[in-house]
Amino acid sequence: MSAIEIFQIWIAAFFTLALFSFLYRDNPCYRLAEHVFAGLSAGYEVGLIWNSVIIQQMIDPMFTGGEWWLVFPGLLGVLMFARFTRDYHWVSRIPLAFVMGTTAGIFLLSELHGKVLPQVQSTMRSVNPSEGIGGVVLSLLIIVGVISTLIYFYFSKEHKGVLGGVAKLGIWFIMVSFGAHFGYTVMARISLLIGRVQFLIYDWGDTFTRIFS
């Protein structure tokens, strides 16, 4: 293990411990780690966007690929800075509207086509007794669960009477699902912590033996 490797492990160990210390209380070490973390990740974003967007998707295609029209999205981006002016403040809404409109157009169809259709389709399951008792129970559970959950979200009527009953069933289903999901996730989170603790004990701990031997 070289000196530089030991140094790297110590840096990582310091920031790891500094962040963990927040669990006890806010303190200068956490504050330092938090501020460095924020700065680095903003810088990371700048480096990423500069290299993968500005250079690779705009400058390179413009100058080496001859795609001169990419100057327009560039100008559209510049309009964003109109917000710093007094009279043409509203112009910055144009790039925003462009981005929001595109997002809306994509989601209108990706949600209806990519989510609603396949999810509705796979809910149409057979409840024919030939599926066996287990199969029928499972199908019924899914069909009733989907429908009652959808009804729970129905906005147009007060949840009373039959509607109220179905919505109540919906909330029971929702609770079972949330409990299951929560319980299922616990283990994965624990293994993340084990990973950090193993880093501290094995890797960082190892550097002590190297230093003192």
């Binding site: 927040f22 903003a42 974003e45 809404r93 997002t103 389709q121 149409m124 129905y154």
Partner: protein, 321 residues
Amino acid sequence: MTFAKFVFWLLVCTWLVPASVFGDTIVPVVDSTSPNRFQDTSSGSVTAGAGAASEVSPGGGNIPAFRTQRINALVLVLVFSILVLVYTRWAKKGKNLFIRKINGLDAIEEAVGRATEMGKPVLFIPGIQELDNIQTIAGISILGRVARITARYETPLRVPVPYPMVLAAGQEVVEQAYIAEGKAEVYNKDIVRYVAGEQFAFTATVNGMMIRERPATNIYMGAFFAESLLLAETGNAAGSIQIAGTAEAAQLPFFIAACDYTLMGEELYAASAYLSREPLLLGGLKGQDWVKILLVIAMIIGVTLVSLGWGDWYLSLFESV
């Protein structure tokens, strides 16, 4: 735009214009198996993508390059748009539309009031995604409504955002809200501020903010992932009232566990309409409800047909390629 105009334009644009102007059959068939294309499909199914590409050509009839196998999506979009717009139009005419109470949303005004009394800030987080996610846009719309309330009471507002376009949109929305309430002089450019573009760096900063400034109210509206519980637990420890809303089904259990109120799934999208009390926006919710009923009916028909063994043709109507 009125409903009739919309349908007219939709028809013109989806059928006639492309058919006569844009659809060119001159371009030779490009190798449809080029791998780059699959990256863009959100379905994640590689084979489906390949199948879709090769099935295209002649089925389109006289409309070149139209993907006939997506006609079911077109029907769904049309039915959906018509229902939403019919109700929007009725709402505009002044028809009284009933919308049931949504607890989490009624709590917002109360929670802001509490912050005002305590003289502490309201913290609003419009999710951790960029403006290219519709949940972020929903979050930004809700921010506009919340900013009106904070402007009215002159309650301090903090909006840390993880991405620059959300920053731009957020600043615009908040500034306009303060102007609309006649409180332009209270507005400050740093209400909405950019904080670290990475999920966990953002979380670390916001957590620090929560413990140091102890906001009276935390509102989370938008797309959240693993950081949902990190934020909500810290807010809970800091003693803030917390209201969350997200359409990420996987994060709902954690918000439910740590927040006082949670808007689930579509309630997030309904929130901006609900808070605005504008009939125009509320009308849309009614239309949406109708589609829901139609889908439930469609499912029941489907289950019956499939159980009787006659369902294959019916299921194929819902095929998404």
